[in-house]
């Protein structure tokens, strides 16, 4: 790289190693720092530029244009690039690889920019440039975006966004900042829009209220005018009503006074009449009371007379009742005797019946005893039982089988008659006429007889060699068994044996029945006891017949006797009821006589009291008649009554006159009518006042254009609400976009942090104690804290040397990541201008190792006036710059 007339440098040339660490050292002001600046200016500004950056690098002591030339390797390209500015500006480019080409001027500038954009990251270059005296703490702006792709690859998060994202974020933050503060509070622009709405709404409310008030005034005025008109209309009628009522009240009051006076006179006369009537009534009552007592005394005497007559009847009724009772008692005794006779007859007949039944039972017992004796006798002699019979049947079957076998061996004989003949065979007889034919099977040894003509003897059979020997003892066995049964002599021994077995069964059945009958008839007696009971019964029966008498005759049948007894018992019941009734009648008659006697005593006593009262009342009446005779009393009462009636008629007439005019009611109506007129007057007055006020208000407000004001206020509300809605919508939009975008950004940055921190910790391994770690801010990749030996210290609290070391390491780490694991990726040189001045010797060694490690993957250029600080960078190339001219 060649600099000429660049700041204080007249001319300087320096060659950097194409990779690894190059340490450029020289004394102060030799132009080391100008090297990085010259490279930056060469790349960024065309030769035509006259901006301050260019003017700043013009040498101050002579009029010459600053010139820079550099050999650059960028991706596959190798080229030499030079520019001069201000004086004789020029740009020259000579590309040597991959294909040689030359260009000048703007074409050269654009070609270089294109190559660099494709294969280098100029923003990262500027970010990693650690300027002399510059901040060490954080990477320069731009590093984060430029690191994006590399960190993305390292983090495998696919989240890098490039530099445009920072621009976009800034734009979004700018949009949001229009509406919200950093802390998210609404800015005045929003609050003022809201306040405007509120103000407009309040104004509208006031205007609407005023308009509604005016409308209310109009309505009220209309209503009041109608009411006033109505009040005016009714006023004359109301006033006339008051006048009329006043007259009516005067008339009514006069009539009422006259009526009251007449009524007082009438009441006095009525009192006098009442007294006379009372005296007359008392006299009449005294007379009537005496008369009443006399009538009562006569009635008591009449009653006593009727009681005496009735008392004789009572005596007769008692005697008749006694006679009836005696007759009923006699009838009862007779019925009792008759009933007892029938009862005895019944018992007698039952005794006869019992005796007869006992005799019948005894007869059946004795017949059963005979059957039992006969049956037992037969069974004792009979040996045929079921077992013997089964043996006989088996023997008979065997014999039959044998016979069958013999019959099978019989000779068939066919007899053809030539004359009328009789044929006998095997107990049968045939009558054959000439030409008749018959056939029989004749066993060997059998005989066919033609009586009087011939005997045909059938010869012995020819034995078949296969036939078994015919047993000849079957008959004998059978005969022995029949002999055992005692029927060997019978023609049909087997049938006789079966008959014996059948009779045995019958005898056993009969024997069981006889024994059962005997047990039933005997019950708990023996035949002898039965005989004794029959004998005693015969004695009782004979004695009853002998002692009873003949009348009435003993009923012939027991049922008759029972019927006769029941009839006698019924008669006995009726006789008892008749006796009871006669006794009750006698008791009633006796009680009636006692009651009559008590009544007679009471009447005598009452009669004495009445007579005494009549005597006393008569004495009193005579005494008062002496002072005031009855006729005088009568005439005085009549006259008082007539006068009372006349006074009452007079008072009633006066009251009738007053009744049509109720004074109180009229007075109330008059007062009410007067009040109504007064209120009407007041109402009219108030209405007129109210109307005047309303007319004034309407006159005052009617021309104000209140409806227009309401409309305008309404429009203002609508406009303010619209503006607020638009503003709020924009604010919400900006906030929403900002929130989503920053959230994604922060998430992406958090993904960047891990590989970056790992690279920093790798390079710092030899500088700080083992196990040192750092914390990195995801927002700007700034190192926040360092943790060594278990102590975490914020970066700001670290020593200047440690901060300086971390600043260099941070840039080296970023460059390494950008260069990729093998240094093949899009890397940029790291320029470190005069750093590590605060680093002690022990740390310088570690920093040398870190620089060397970084140099394996990226180009590192160190500009320093103290090359000994970098002595530990083992692989470094060293270039010395000396002052020229």
């Amino acid at each position: 790289m060649l600099l000429r007339d660049f700041r204080g440098v007249d001319e300087a040339e320096v060659a950097f190693a194409p990779s690894g660490v190059t340490i450029v050292h020289g004394p102060n002001e030799v132009g080391k720092s100008s090297i990085a600046e010259a490279l930056d200016v060469l790349i960024r500004h065309p030769d035509s530029s006259r901006r301050d950056d260019i003017r700043a690098v013009k040498p101050v002591h002579r009029d010459a244009g600053p010139f820079v030339e550099a050999d650059i390797q960028c991706g596959p390209f190798r080229f030499t690039y030079s520019k001069r500015w201000l004086r004789q500006p020029c740009t020259e480019l000579t590309i040597r690889a991959p294909a040689a080409r030359q260009a000048t001027g703007r074409e050269a500038h654009d070609a270089v920019m294109a190559m660099l954009r494709e294969h280098a990251d100029l923003d990262l270059f500027r970010a990693l440039w650690l300027r002399q005296g510059g901040s060490l703490d954080v990477l320069a702006p731009g590093a984060r975006g430029s690191l994006g792709a590399a960190l993305d690859a390292a983090a495998s998060a696919g989240s890098a966004a490039g530099d445009d994202a920072d621009v976009l974020i800034a734009a979004i933050e700018g949009e949001r900042a229009q509406w919200y503060t950093e802390t998210g509070l609404e800015k005045a622009v929003l609050t003022s829009l809201r306040a405007r709405v509120e103000t407009a709404e309040e104004a509208h409310e006031r205007a609407a209220g005023a308009l509604a008030g005016l409308a209310g005034c109009v309505d009220d005025l209309g209503r009041l005018r109608r009411e006033l008109s109505a009040l005016d209309a009714v006023e004359p009628a109301r006033r006339k009503a008051v006048t009329d009522l006043e007259e009516a009240v005067g008339h009514a009051r006069a009539a009422s006074a006259a009526a009251r006076e007449a009524r007082l006179l009438s009441d006095a006369q009525a009192a006098r009449s009442g007294q006379a009537q009372s005296a007359l009534a008392a006299r009449r009552e005294a007379i009537a009371r005496i008369g009443h007592d006399a009538t009562q005394a006569a009635a008591v005497r009449d009653e006593a007379e009727r009681a005496r007559a009735h008392g004789a009847g009572d005596l007769q009724r008692r005697d008749a009742a006694q006679t009836a009772l005696d007759a009923a008692a006699a009838a009862l005794a007779s019925a009792q005797d008759a009933f007892e006779q029938t009862d005895r007859d019944d018992l007698h007949l039952r005794d006869v019946l019992d005796r007869d039944q006992l005799g019948e039972r005894l007869g059946r017992v004795r017949a059963a005893d005979r059957l039992i004796a006969d049956g037992e006798s037969f069974l004792a002699g009979c040996v045929v039982d079921d077992a013997l019979m089964r043996r006989i049947d088996a023997a008979a079957e065997e014999r039959a089988v044998e016979r069958g076998r013999r019959e099978a061996a019989a000779v068939p004989v066919r007899v053809v008659a030539e004359a009328t003949v009789q044929m006998e065979f095997d107990g049968s007889t045939w009558h054959l006429d000439p030409g008749d034919e018959t056939a029989v099977a004749a066993p060997a040894g059998s005989e066919i007889r033609l009586p009087g003509i011939a005997r045909v003897l059938v010869g012995p059979p020819v034995a078949h060699p296969d036939d078994p020997a015919v047993p000849d003892d079957a008959e004998q066995v059978l005969m022995a068994l029949l002999g055992q049964a005692g029927v060997a002599d019978e023609a049909d021994g087997v049938g006789a044996a079966r008959a014996l077995l059948r009779r045995r069964g019958e005898e056993e059945t009969r024997l069981r029945a006889a024994r059962a009958t005997r047990a039933v008839d005997l019950r708990d007696l023996t035949p002898d006891e039965m005989d004794d009971k029959i004998a005693r019964a015969d004695e009782r029966i004979a004695l009853y017949v002998a002692t009873r008498g003949d009348s009435p005759a003993i009923p012939g049948e027991r049922d008759t006797a029972k019927a006769v007894r029941a009839a006698a018992e019924e008669r006995l019941g009726r006789a008892r009821e008749g006796a009871d009734r006669a006794r009750e009648s006698l008791d009633v008659a006796k009680a009636a006589m006692l009651d009559a006697e008590r009544d007679a005593a009471g009447r005598t006593e009452r009669l004495a009291v009445i007579d005494e009262r009549i005597a006393a009342a008569g004495a009193d009446l005579e005494a008062v008649r002496a002072g005031s005779p009855d006729d005088v009393l009568e005439s005085e009462a009549l006259r008082a009554a007539v006068e009372d009636l006349e006074a009452d008629v007079t008072a009633a007439r006066a009251e009738a006159d007053a009744a049509g005019t109720d004074v109180d009611s009229l007075a109330e109506r008059l007062a009410n009518a007067a009040d109504a007129v007064r209120r009407l007057t007041e109402d009219r007055g108030q209405a007129r006042i109210a109307i005047a006020r309303l007319e004034a208000a309407i006159d005052r407000d009617g021309d104000l254009g209140l409806a227009d004001r309401v409309g305008e206020a309404s429009n203002a509300v609508s406009d303010a609400r619209h503006d607020l809605a638009v503003g709020q919508r924009r604010a919400d939009t900006a906030r929403y976009l900002h929130e989503v975008m920053t959230r994604h950004r922060d998430e992406a940055h958090r993904a960047y942090v891990a590989p970056y921190r790992a690279e920093v910790e790798r390079l710092a391994r030899g500088v700080f104690p083992p196990g040192t770690s750092v914390e990195v801010a995801h927002e700007d990749l700034a190192i926040i804290t360092r943790t060594s030996d278990g102590r975490t210290v914020p970066l700001r609290d670290l020593s200047g040397g440690a901060r300086e070391q971390l600043g260099v390491i941070g840039r080296l780490a970023a460059a390494c990541i950008a260069a990729g694991p093998t240094g093949e990726a899009q890397g940029v040189p790291v320029i470190i201008d005069d750093a590590l001045g605060f680093t002690d010797a022990s740390r310088l060694e570690g920093m040398g190792a870190a620089l060397a490690a970084a140099g394996e993957r990226t180009q590192v250029i160190v500009l320093t006036c103290a090359p000994e600080r970098y002595a530990a960078v083992g692989t470094a190339a060293t270039v010395r710059m000396d002052p020229r001219g």
Binding site: D164, L168, I172, G702, D703, D708, E712, Y736, L737, E747
Partner: protein, 377 residues
């Protein structure tokens, strides 16, 4: 005999449905319509003009506006009969008794104050049914008809204001105008024509040729049919002829657009651009369809630009249904990468959904499109 029938001038209307910029123009055009009616009356040789109520939007409008209205009425060269309506009833605070009106009122102007027949020409009477309060107790037209006697050869025109009972299903208005008595009066010859006001659309009532609403001379909303006209009524013996003349210059439109591509958005823009008289046009849009983010951004740019030239350009929130969808290759054309691209895709996902944040997410995409350095590349 010929006359003009008009109504519902609503002078002084504050027109909150318009932008602040358009309101003065609208107010001036309503007064201009009055002068135009006067011109047409003269041109048509009309004997008089009747206004069936609501000449003013309120009794309490600004008196300067009243003065300007009275000034406009000065253009009439034939008698002008004004019926107070429900907006400007003849009550205690009536605009017609205000100083601004009474002092400036031209001689040819008559305010109908009661139901007494008014002779307007030989053999011609008008009978008015004025509103004397904001809430009359009953049918004002029936009240006017009740006092009429046998016309005895006179041609009568009834002027009334209000809703006819056939239109009032579901309303609780007390002062409904019953149709049956009007028909009876026409049949009996008590009146020959019923000039109604209140309804802003010009139309026959219940098929009756002689019962009509004149409509408002300048429209106030898109749903009005036949607004912006004045009726020229000719009575010749038994013959009745009614025709309309255009007066209004404003139009209130409602138009649907289904947008599904960038071409649709461009066509929509062209349709807006080609709309005549935009400065007097209020356009309400019903937008449906589905657009990519870029197309959606373009749509809103179109709306932003065009809304400045229309008197009113609104998008109905109720019917707005334009979905934002992903581009064909699934990538938003914003030139983003890394986390920025991730953020944009998250926002696009929300915007394409129907969650609570879908709206703000769509706005965020539009903003992102505007701010992103590589948007549209």
């Amino acid at each position: 005999m010929r006359f003009l029938h008009t109504a519902d001038w609503h002078l002084g209307m504050t027109a909150g449905f318009l932008s602040a910029e358009a309101r003065p123009r609208y107010a001036e055009d309503r007064r201009r319509a009055v002068r135009e009616i006067a011109r047409i009356a003269e041109e048509e040789g009309a004997g008089f003009v009747v206004v069936s109520g609501d000449v003013f939007d309120s009794n309490q409008i600004d008196r300067a506006e009243v003065s300007r209205a009275v000034e406009a009425m000065g253009a009439f060269t034939v008698p002008l009969y004004i019926l107070p309506g429900n907006h400007d009833p003849l009550d205690a605070a009536s605009v017609y008794t205000s100083r601004a009106f009474t002092t400036g009122k031209p001689d040819l102007v008559t305010v109908i104050g009661d139901t007494e027949p008014i002779p307007v020409a030989p053999g011609i009477e008008i009978v008015g049914a004025p509103w004397t309060s904001r809430r009359p107790a009953g049918d004002p037209a029936a009240l006017a008809l009740a006092g009429l006697t046998d016309p005895r050869g006179t041609t009568r025109i009834l002027i009334a204001h209000g809703i006819v009972d056939g239109d009032a299903i579901g309303t609780d208005v007390q002062a409904l105008i019953a149709i049956a008595p009007l028909r009876r009066a026409l049949a009996e010859g008590t009146v020959r024509y019923v000039a109604l006001g209140d309804h802003h659309s010009a139309r026959e009532v219940c098929g009756e040729h002689a019962i009509r609403y004149a409509g408002t001379p300048e429209p106030t909303q898109a749903s009005e049919q036949g607004a912006g006209e004045v009726l020229v009524v000719t009575l010749d013996g038994d013959h009745l002829d009614v025709r309309s003349r255009r007066v209004g210059t404003w139009q209130f439109l409602r138009r649907p657009f289904d947008l599904r591509s960038g071409e649709d958005v461009e066509a929509f823009d062209s349709a807006l651009a080609d709309t005549p008289g935009k400065e007097r046009t209020v356009l309400r849009l019903d937008l449906t369809g589905s657009l990519t983010v870029a197309e959606d951004v373009l749509l809103h740019q179109v709306l932003d630009v065009r809304s400045d030239v229309f008197a009113g350009l609104t998008v109905s929130d109720r019917t707005y249904d334009v979905a934002v969808i992903a581009d064909g290759d699934g990538i938003l054309p914003l030139g983003l990468s890394g986390y920025a691209q991730g953020a944009a895709e998250e926002i696009a996902g929300v915007a394409m959904g129907d969650g609570a944040d879908a709206g703000v997410a769509r706005d965020a995409l539009r903003l992102l499109y505007r701010l992103a350095p590589g948007a549209g590349s």
